[in-house]
């Protein structure tokens, strides 16, 4: 399995961004920061599902490790995210997007489709995260505000990052 050095660099960059952001932005338990899903969501469309799963697992584990959260929490959520990613992408993509081996970014998809893609995927990620955290459906209702607030904040953060770093400079 060949790993592109560009992907490794991106991996490290997202990890550092995630760690810095989650230590900087701390306004209590109502908000958790997760921007690393952008890395998984914008992997080239020809990446195989198995590779996506491995990326998600390792990304989640190291994020958990470096942000002092429960080990395995983010990796579990990231795996669920990857499971639904291709379905969500098929919802927003146009004919030909899949064959072009593109990075499904803001430039390629356009603002509305990209935002939908990110928001839906993040919703899956956040719900899965909250389910694993509470380990059951009993306290899910109490977690809903947290999920909603984080979803909103993270979508905006990811859009800012995507616009600031990737929109103009194609990697």
């Amino acid at each position: 399995m060949r790993i592109k050095s560009g992907n490794l660099l991106l991996f490290a960059a997202f990890l550092i961004t995630q760690v810095i952001l989650s230590s900087l932005i701390d306004i209590g338990p109502l908000l958790f920061i997760s921007v690393y899903p952008l890395f998984l969501l914008t992997l080239p469309t020809n990446t195989t599902f198995n590779k996506m799963l491995l990326w998600a697992f390792f990304m989640g584990i190291v994020v958990d490790y470096f942000t002092n959260s429960i080990l395995g929490l983010n990796s579990s959520a990231a795996l669920t995210l990857v499971l639904f990613q291709s379905k969500i992408f098929k919802l927003v993509c146009r004919k030909g997007d899949l064959e072009n081996q593109i990075r499904p970014g803001l430039r390629e998809l356009g603002f509305v489709r990209f935002t939908t893609y990110i928001a839906l995927s993040l919703a899956v990620h956040h719900i899965s995260l909250s389910l694993v955290e509470s380990f059951g459906l009993t306290s899910f209702i109490y977690n809903l505000p947290r999920v909603a607030v984080s979803l909103f904040a993270n979508t905006i953060l990811i859009l800012v990052i995507e616009f600031g770093f990737f929109y103009k400079n194609r990697l």
């Binding site: 491995l54 429960i70 080990l71």
Partner: protein
Amino acid sequence: MWDKLPILRALATLTLFILLQGVSLFFVSQDSLFQRVKVAGVFMHIKSGIAEFTSDIKYYTGLKSINETLAAENIKLKNELERLNSIYSKVDSSYTMTPPSPSFSYIPAKIIANSTNKLHNYLIIDKGKKDGISRDMGVVSPNGVVGVISSVAENYSYVISFLNINQSVSAKIAPSQAFGPLVWEGRRPDYATLTEVPYHINFMIGDTVYTSGFSTLFPPDIPLGTVRKSTVIKGSHHQIQVKLFQDFSTLHFVNVVVNNNKPEIDQIKRQNEN
């Protein structure tokens, strides 16, 4: 190979997903006390479910030997009861000067053949001469009278079932102690008829019918069945239909009644007949 077998590929992917997700959840359960307790609870639930299931199976497969030990224990207790009863009646009778009641003991046996659909039904049990069984011994079960030993081989005995139109058992109705022969009429295996109960005897539907004990075959007070309905024959006696407790078709274990005083009684009978 992967491209030719899409199912295999999908399976491999699924396995990878489950594996990675499992590792993640394992980490979660190791890392956080809350999740650890929850996971332990789930495992405990599964474990106890499996344990209960296996113990149920073990219990079911062990039922046969449990049955046999219970039957053996039952016999032991019955013998003990008869022994104590005879001692008790001897103590009692030392004041009233009546002879002690005959004491009975029991031999447990298993039915190996049973018929219920003929007019002359029979059973074969797995105890014979070797076990101390002889002709004209009664055969009972906890639900009533089963029959009478008709012939004995070394290891097996042939029993004329109560479901035989030539067979009769001396029976009585509980409150009044009025007695008469209980016979099977050859129609339905769960009903028998008690005849020769005098007309003036009062009884009610639902009264229990017991063995009277006026024979050397069966001990008294074995419940046989309940009164179902009755008709008066020729204005002189009742003919009572009795619903039997015994279900002959599901019978598996029986007890052979040994009357310990039978030789004595037979001897006295013979003397007076001569």
